[in-house]
């Protein structure tokens, strides 16, 4: 992929993710055109915009699910454009999906176990060998999984099938599973969609705690009140383009943004 | 030159048979979204029923009528009743595939049990032969080509000119559109099963007569070639099936002539595999096909 103009690998200090000139199309439609923005370390960067703005597509482009036609993505200075999804994940970027994407046929604990970063004991060779080779490390992972469950107050559902849970609980399982990998960057695709306000607030608190502990997040979200509470800075997209990036206050003063999104028919 | 002519004529004859069955198969998939892997055994069943009713030397037109009627009925039973029951229960893709495979096992081996693994002679009233540019063609083969053309025109008129046809096209694109056509989705689906069954029956009977014989595995063997035509052209698209039938008919005939007769069917099957690997939506499908074939 060709890098856009001025795409120095490192970018500004504290930049974790640098997206430059990304573009892609589906059929005849250009879903994303010339998307450029950065995500700084230790922030919850919001990604907002009206429906069809291309927000989820950008997440797919970063995570490798969709191949860009042009542009580049750099993570911690390294180019990751065009890598396949599992390769991107191995760099330390974990994403969640718009529809809560859990392993329905496995219990919550098993879901969390799969979330851990790839380890030696999960190979075919290890499976054919003695238990001892992997059981200790698995015990450690189990302990971490139970800790995360406790932190979210969800020990009760540890042994429930993930597929049998409510929508909101499944989102939480997906989030907890992502945390098992201790990612450097978390890409959240509408984590609060369809979640009741009380639960949404509690998830928001968890996210703030994680940010305070040093995790970086890029969050697509529609609920502007939540965005205002959680995200700084915020990237605004419309019709496949990035309009602006800044704090909510700056954006609310930005005419282009107001016209496209926050003004008249914008806001939800 | 005679070789080319021979490939051309017999290629069109094969294409005619493939088109009749292929359009039925693909139309039913387009409307009901069910990949009916029992289609081949239904082909055989129609031949057996027709043979059972009218004996081994029969009038072509009677045979086709009986075939169409029995095909329509069996298809409705299998598709709308049995498969439909599983669908209403919420069965998914692979579950339904297994259901249709189970049905095909039951039908094919029931036929084999009833009649034994024998091959039956099956002819229409003695055909006369013609010579076209040095190639000998029988009148029944020409009739098959004629029937196929008529059937394609009829399907075309049905789809373009009738309310039911519109409902079928709407359902194939997006089920929620069906009601706005004034026909209920259930009725549209039932009509699709009936129509594809009728075409299946006609195809089966003509296949049996064309080969001059049939056995309990005739339909299943032919089904894969037929599916190849449907998939190549774009599954769910009747015009695609016609195109696919033409291509496969000619290519497989050429393979038989140039390599060896046993490669006639293998060539078609290899085309099917190639399409499934390289471009599963087929030739005529748009880039983003309506029915998600690529998971």
């Amino acid at each position: 992929m060709t890098a856009g103009p001025g795409a120095a690998a490192a970018g500004a200090p504290g930049t974790l993710l640098q997206v430059e000139g990304l573009a892609c199309h589906f059929g005849g439609v250009r879903a994303v055109q010339n998307a450029t923005f950065t995500v700084s370390q230790g922030t919850i960067t919001g990604l907002i915009g009206p429906n069809g703005a291309g927000k989820s597509t950008v997440i797919n482009l970063i995570s490798g699910r969709t191949k860009p036609d042009r542009g580049s993505v750099h993570f911690d200075g390294k180019p990751i454009t065009g890598l396949r999804p599992h390769e991107v994940a191995r760099q330390g970027i974990v994403r969640t999906f718009q529809q809560a994407n859990v392993f329905g046929g496995m219990t919550v604990l098993e879901n969390l176990l799969v979330g851990a970063t790839p380890w030696a004991g999960e190979s075919l060779l290890a499976a054919l060998g003695p238990r001892r080779a992997w059981s200790r490390e698995q015990a450690g992972l189990l302990e971490r999984a139970r800790d995360i469950l406790a932190r979210f107050g969800l020990e009760d559902i540890a042994d429930d099938y993930a597929g049998a849970l409510s929508g909101g609980q499944r989102r939480l399982v997906e989030l907890m599973r992502a945390l098992m990998a201790r990612p450097e960057l978390l890409l959240l695709d509408e984590p609060m969609a369809g979640v009741n306000p009380a639960l949404a607030l509690s998830i928001a608190q968890r996210l703030e705690e994680l940010r305070d502990e040093g995790m970086t997040m890029l969050m697509v979200e529609h609920e502007l009140r939540l965005v205002e509470k959680l995200c700084d800075p915020v990237v605004v997209m419309a019709a496949g383009r990035v309009l602006a990036e800044g704090s909510m206050a700056e954006l609310q003063a930005n005419q282009e943004v107001i016209d496209a999104y926050l003004g008249g028919d914008g806001g939800h | 030159m005679t070789l080319l002519l021979s490939i051309g004529i017999f290629g069109i004859y094969s294409a005619a048979l493939l088109a009749i069955g292929g359009v039925g198969f693909t139309l039913q998939f387009g409307v009901t979204n069910v990949l009916n892997l029992a289609f081949g055994s239904l082909l055989t069943a129609c031949i057996f029923i027709e043979y059972g009713l009218t004996g081994h030397s029969t009038n072509l037109w009677v045979a086709m009528a009986v075939g169409a009627a029995s095909g329509a009925l069996i298809s409705l039973l299998v598709g709308h009743v049995v498969v439909g029951a599983f669908l209403r229960r919420g069965a998914t893709g692979i579950g339904i595939a297994m259901v249709t495979i189970a049905i095909s096992l039951i039908v094919q081996f029931s036929l084999e049990a009833i009649q034994g693994p024998f091959i039956f002679a099956y002819t229409a009233s003695t055909p006369s032969t013609f010579s076209i540019g040095g190639v000998v063609v029988s009148s029944s083969q020409l009739t098959v080509i004629g029937v196929a053309v008529v059937a394609m025109v009829a399907v075309h008129l049905l789809l373009r000119m009738t309310k039911l046809g519109l409902a079928m096209r709407a359902t194939a694109a997006d089920v929620s559109l069906t009601r706005s056509c004034g026909v209920s989705p259930a009725r549209t689906r039932a009509a699709a099963w009936l129509l594809s069954g009728a075409l299946c029956g006609v195809c089966g009977v003509l296949l049996g007569i064309g080969e001059g014989s049939f056995s309990s595995s005739t339909g299943s063997d032919f089904f894969i070639t037929l599916a190849a035509a449907a998939v190549l052209g774009g599954i769910g698209k009747p015009y695609g099936a016609m195109l696919g039938a033409l291509l496969i008919g000619i290519v497989s005939q050429a393979a038989a002539a140039v390599i060896s007769p046993s490669y006639k069917t293998i060539a078609a099957w290899l085309i099917l595999i190639a399409v499934l690997i390289l471009r599963p939506q087929g030739i005529l499908a748009e880039f983003a096909s309506e029915r998600e074939l690529v998971a």
Binding site: G64, E110 | L35, A97, V99, A102, S262, V294, A295
Partner: protein, 336 residues
């Protein structure tokens, strides 16, 4: 009678290995491995071609490649290896991201192409007539009666079964097995967590394929003959029905299915008083299998012994504690 029962036990063992292999593909990983019989076929041919002498040694009444006349256990090793290797081209098609029923159709077509090629290419494996006079392991070593040899072969089969059991069980309860089940549920989530779903699928296709190949090798060495009519496409559905009936995703279910379907139904009906023409009972067997498959898909798709929930011993229990938590009846307790 004893000879009959020992023969039945051998067939049960061979089917066990095959069905456990299919469970790895279909039950655990969710691959619609509907060309499974081809894995077994290839294994059978590999064993045959390795064990047979060159065609000339038999007066050239058959034509085939190979004929290395290698002794035990090499034909069986070749069989497993062949099953593993054929997984690669079959995997190319299995991993093409197609809708499930479409993929099933692709697999069926593969199966038919394999049969068509074996029939057409007579120089390869003697075409439709098939291979015969395949040497058996230990044949010349002991001078045994027919009954006695069966016991030796039963012992060999039992050893292979234990091997298959060890492989299948190891995979099933390991972190690797968990990844396979994850691929079954959501390939996209597996990718998002840093694992390559295609690599996982290929590895299990190869492993299950090796088991299928081994079962083919054993079968061929037992019946000493192998031709395309021994491995037609419906045979895959014999194994599949066994899995659906017995239960997927667990060894006990596979074993139960292996006993009920290929053995009880098929073998038992062999002993009904012969009625009708020869082969009628075989046809009726297939009708029965189709009907049973349909019935179970309707009434009990999870099978008689469904896959059980995996539950871990609660923290603080220590390695010695083994009591399952109350209220988790039916769960399978695993050590952390």
């Amino acid at each position: 009678m004893v000879y009959y029962l020992s023969g039945l036990a051998i067939l049960l063992g061979i089917n066990l290995i095959a069905i456990w292999g299919l469970d790895l593909h279909f039950g655990l990983t969710g691959i619609n491995s509907f060309a499974y019989i081809v894995f077994q076929a290839v294994g059978g041919y590999a064993a045959a071609l390795t064990a047979l002498k060159p065609p000339a040694a038999y007066g050239s009444f058959e034509t085939y490649v190979g004929g290395f006349n290698l002794p035990f256990p090499l034909p069986l090793v070749a069989a497993a290896a062949a099953g593993a290797l054929i997984a690669v081209p079959i995997g190319l098609i299995a991993m093409r991201r197609l809708r499930a029923d479409y993929q099933a159709m692709a697999m069926l077509v593969l199966s038919l192409i394999a049969t068509g090629l074996a029939n057409a290419q007579t120089k390869l494996v003697n075409g439709p007539a098939g291979l015969a006079l395949i040497p058996q392991p230990f044949a010349g070593v002991f001078t045994l009666s027919r009954d006695g040899y069966n016991w030796i072969f039963l012992g060999l089969t039992a050893v292979c079964c234990v091997l298959a059991w060890w492989v299948a069980r190891g995979i099933s309860r390991s972190p690797y097995g968990r990844l396979l089940r994850a691929v079954r549920d959501s390939e996209s989530a597996v990718s998002a967590l840093g694992r390559n779903p295609n690599a996982l699928r290929m590895s299990v296709l190869i492993t299950g394929g090796a088991l299928a190949g081994l079962s083919g090798g054993l079968l061929v060495e037992y019946v000493t003959a192998w031709g395309p009519s021994s491995w037609l496409y419906p045979e895959t559905f014999l194994f599949l029905t066994a899995l659906i009936v017995g239960g997927r995703g667990n060894l006990a279910g596979g074993a139960l299915g292996a006993f009920l379907v290929p053995i009880l139904i098929v073998e038992a009906t062999r002993h009904l008083p012969a009625f009708g023409y020869p082969g009628l009972i075989d046809s009726l067997d297939w009708v029965a299998i189709g009907a049973i498959l349909l019935a179970f898909l309707w009434f009990r798709p999870k099978g008689l012994l469904p896959e059980r929930k995996r539950v871990f011993r609660p923290a603080g229990g220590g390695p010695g504690a083994a009591r399952p938590r109350a209220g988790l009846a039916g769960g399978r307790v695993e050590s952390p």
